[in-house]
């Protein structure tokens, strides 16, 4: 049987099965965009969630003080009309007067101040607290349309946090004292975004409808239905039959196979996520271990054929990287030292380091099994006996926190922020267990970048830090990711350079 014929065969099968299941009519007819997500959607309040699926939904349901322009990486006014630094530690923000909540009530300066002070309050136990506590002392209402933010310390990324992390809620939403209800907005969300919640069955289905009193530009599509379909194969069958119009996080092979048929379109966009190996240079697992030797770490860098991995295993716009940050991120200096793929050189370096016969290495990984195996195979090829531990993320995190991991294949999406700050701090801070370099000078350097608001200075600092990471080969950077989508041929879904899907911008062809 020929490959192509088989495919059409399968596709026909899937269509037939869908007619059996009796899925609803597709998109434009009833102006409803149906999307699938594999992760269960359980809580609609992004102040209390972290995963990427929730960021996508928060884009639809919530508005924040500022909006990130993915093209320019600038922060545009949204609920705020403007801002002014009174001094290094005091920020004045003026608000629009025409913002309405989904229940129809108007937004006030009290609501904004409440939202920030609530998240800053340890009782809130919000997932955004950690971010806000770094810089916010308190927020104070100064007039019906202005709020003053008093900062704890100089912090250049205030606008970023305001745009990404703090969702605005009505004054008193979460209660106080004994009546604190952190799940108050988990299902009956009252926010200010372009779509409002019509119905929500956690883990099954979420129905959103265009909010007509939204202050910004109205989205083109009237209704969005989010269905939880855990199995990618099922999502695929639904897409082919018109049961859904959009799916994301599609494995490359599947995206290409199905994208080749007329039933779906394969879109591949950039993604700020990068993959990398973190090596225990600090000797946390073994003070005398081979990874404490810089020659060994450089050998590992030379051993990995990252170009092939990016091209064949990740695909789309994925590329090999040689920096500890995404090339599109602010401050991610590309002129740092590179270690091209050269297994012979890698073997020489190993021999020079005193390991001509290689050494045993436990390598942990939690996603992209094929890439993990490819990495293991490349390292085996230069004589390192790799014991690949492919585990659940939680297990990896736990073992890493216990300092039991000598090397792992990690990835980081930077929360869609095109700034080296979003990857450097979490990975090279002294407090972070992700930091296995043991380099305190580097940790101080990375921290110092967050204590200045001078962009040129920040750029310089990050160049130095990224250069040092490359020079000492604390990481073996691997590749950037690409975001693979399969969408209905009738849907126009624009891709943004930061890789965050913004469904509010889609329309029918």
């Amino acid at each position: 049987m020929q490959m192509i014929r088989w495919r059409t065969f399968c596709a026909a099968g899937a269509v037939a099965l869908a007619s059996v299941t009796g899925s609803a009519a597709a998109g434009p007819d009833d102006d409803t965009l149906r999307i699938a997500m594999a992760e269960e959607i359980l809580n609609l309040d992004y102040n209390y969630t972290t995963k990427r699926e929730y960021i996508i939904l928060a884009q639809l349901t919530d508005a924040t003080l500022f909006d990130l322009d993915p093209e320019t990486q600038e922060f545009n006014p949204s609920i705020a009309t403007g801002y002014e630094w009174v001094d290094d530690m005091t920020l004045d923000i003026t608000l629009r007067d025409d913002v309405a909540f989904h229940d129809g009530s108007p937004l006030t300066a009290e609501d904004v101040a409440y939202s920030y002070n609530w998240i800053n309050n340890p009782d809130s136990e919000s997932n955004a607290s950690g971010v806000v506590e770094r810089w916010l002392d308190n927020a104070e209402v100064t007039s019906p349309t202005s709020v003053r933010f008093h900062l704890k310390s100089v912090y250049p990324l205030v606008l970023r946090d305001m745009a990404n992390r703090i969702m605005i809620r009505k004054d008193g939403t979460y209660g106080e004292g004994a009546d604190i209800d952190r799940d108050a907005m988990a299902s009956d969300l009252i926010a200010t975004g372009p779509y409002k919640v019509v119905s929500f069955e956690p883990g099954t289905e979420l129905v959103l409808e265009r909010f007509d009193e939204f202050f910004g530009e109205a989205p083109a599509i009237q209704k969005i239905v989010v269905r939880n379909i855990p199995d990618v194969g099922t999502q695929q069958a639904e897409l082919m039959s018109g049961g859904i119009d959009w799916m994301f996080k599609v494995p490359l092979d599947l995206a290409e196979s199905l994208g080749a048929t007329p039933m779906a379109e394969h879109l591949s966009g950039p993604d700020l996520r990068v993959g990398f190996l973190v090596l225990d240079a600090g000797g946390y697992t073994d003070p005398e271990g081979p990874l404490t030797n810089v020659l060994v770490r450089r050998a590992i860098n030379h051993a990995l054929n990252t170009k092939e991995m990016a091209e064949y295993l990740i695909g789309g716009s994925a590329e090999a990287i040689h920096t500890a940050c995404h090339p599109a991120q602010f401050g991610c200096d590309q002129s740092v030292v590179e270690y091209p793929y050269d297994p012979e050189k890698a073997k020489e370096l190993l021999a020079e380091a005193g390991y001509p016969e290689g050494f045993p290495l436990e390598l942990w990984a939690y996603r992209d099994k094929a890439a993990s195996e490819a990495i293991a195979s490349d390292l085996t090829a230069i004589g390192i006996e790799v014991d690949l531990r492919y585990v659940k993320l939680e297990s990896l995190n736990q073992a890493r926190a216990a300092r039991e991991i000598p090397a792992y294949f990690g990835t980081w999406g930077s929360g869609g922020t095109a700034d080296t700050a979003a990857i450097a701090r979490i990975h090279f801070d002294e407090e972070s267990d992700r930091n296995m370099s043991g380099d305190t000078a580097l940790a101080d350097l990375v921290l110092s970048a967050e204590q200045t608001a001078d962009q040129e200075k920040r750029k310089e600092i990050y160049s130095e830090a990224i250069g040092k990471i490359a020079e000492d080969a604390y990481w073996a950077p691997l590749f950037s990711y690409s975001a693979n989508y399969l969408v209905s041929p009738q849907l126009d879904f624009p891709l943004d350079p930061d890789g965050l899907p913004r469904l509010q911008n889609s329309s029918w062809k």
Binding site: F9, L17, T21, S126, P202, L393, N397
Partner: protein, 305 residues
């Protein structure tokens, strides 16, 4: 008899609690629930906040007795993951699994009993060999693989059934077949053995001498006696179907207890896993109890227990 049932019932509860304790310990050592809830790009302070929010920073023993205390009052706690009372969650999903388990049992009965009976009536004939072949094959097929093959064959190549989901009866045909197939060998062999034994008994010989033959003989005399032990084995098999639903439900995307169990294990949603294990254990033990009672009722010799 009543005392016997009460005793066995008590034992069943004891088993369920032992199992839940073992599961609780293993689960907590195996994964940090706070990490699991926080997700891929979570920072350590988020994880800490979650740990505090769910009381996961308390000692293990305190948490177990806390849970046990709740259960004794009928409260199985709230799911970390679904933000719902676990009991409601389980009740929501139970009907899918019950449907699947009973349809699987129906598949087993429809295939195994006629086949076993035909084989017993015609020992060493081609049908006997065929039945044996079916039994041996069904035993050797990996369950998850059979599921995938059924999807390729009957949902994609010959699209008569849906790939996955649980909306209509058609969705249950393939999963029920896959789950039911695993019980066919045991039930079929037992039917065959039982029938051969009964057919050799004196009263059958008498009936035969009176001119009863073939199907009539089978229906009037033999089947009824041979079928009783089969029923008690079916009860045990039904109990196993619940635990066996984990793989089948996840392959066919059926929103039942088995899939809930797998998801909760992966998500370290301890309250949900706890209740599910408790429920699975109770069902399993109850079905065994039912089988024992049936046996005891049929065979007075074991009634003493």
């Amino acid at each position: 008899m009543l005392r016997y049932i009460a005793l066995r019932g008590l034992l069943a509860l004891l088993v369920a609690f032992t199992v839940s304790l073992a599961a609780f310990l293993l689960l907590n050592v195996a994964a940090d629930p706070a990490q699991a809830i926080a997700g891929e790009d979570a920072t350590p302070d988020v994880v800490e906040a979650i740990r505090a929010r769910y009381g996961l920073d308390r000692p293990l023993s305190v948490r177990y007795f806390d849970w046990l205390g709740g259960v004794l009052q009928g409260d199985f706690g709230e799911s970390y993951y679904w933000h719902k009372p676990v009991a409601a969650l389980v009740a929501d999903r139970a009907d899918e699994t019950i449907t699947l388990a009973f349809s699987a049992l129906a598949v087993t009965i429809v295939i195994a009993i006629p086949l076993g009976a035909l084989a017993a009536l015609n020992p060493n004939s081609w049908i006997d060999r065929f039945a044996l072949g079916v039994a041996v094959s069904a035993q050797a097929v990996p369950n998850f693989w059979l599921g995938l093959i059924m999807i390729i064959l009957f949902a994609v190549m010959i699209p008569i059934f849906p790939v996955s989901g649980d909306d209509t009866w058609k969705h249950f045909v393939l999963p029920a077949f896959v789950l039911g197939a695993s019980s066919v060998p045991a039930v079929m062999r037992l039917t065959r053995t039982g029938l051969i034994e009964v057919m050799g008994a004196d009263y059958i010989r008498t009936a035969r001498s009176k001119g009863f033959r073939g199907w009539q003989l089978l229906r009037r005399h033999a089947l009824r006696n041979a079928i009783l032990p089969v029923i008690s084995v079916l009860a045990v098999q039904l109990g196993q179907k619940f635990g066996g639903s984990v793989i089948t439900e996840s392959i066919f995307a059926i929103n039942g207890l088995g899939r809930l169990a797998l998801e909760s294990i992966l998500g370290a949603d301890i309250p949900t896993v706890q209740m599910l294990i408790f429920v699975f254990a109770i069902v399993f033990v109850a079905m065994n109890l039912l089988a024992d009672i049936l046996n005891a009722a049929l065979d007075p010799r074991i009634r003493i227990g």
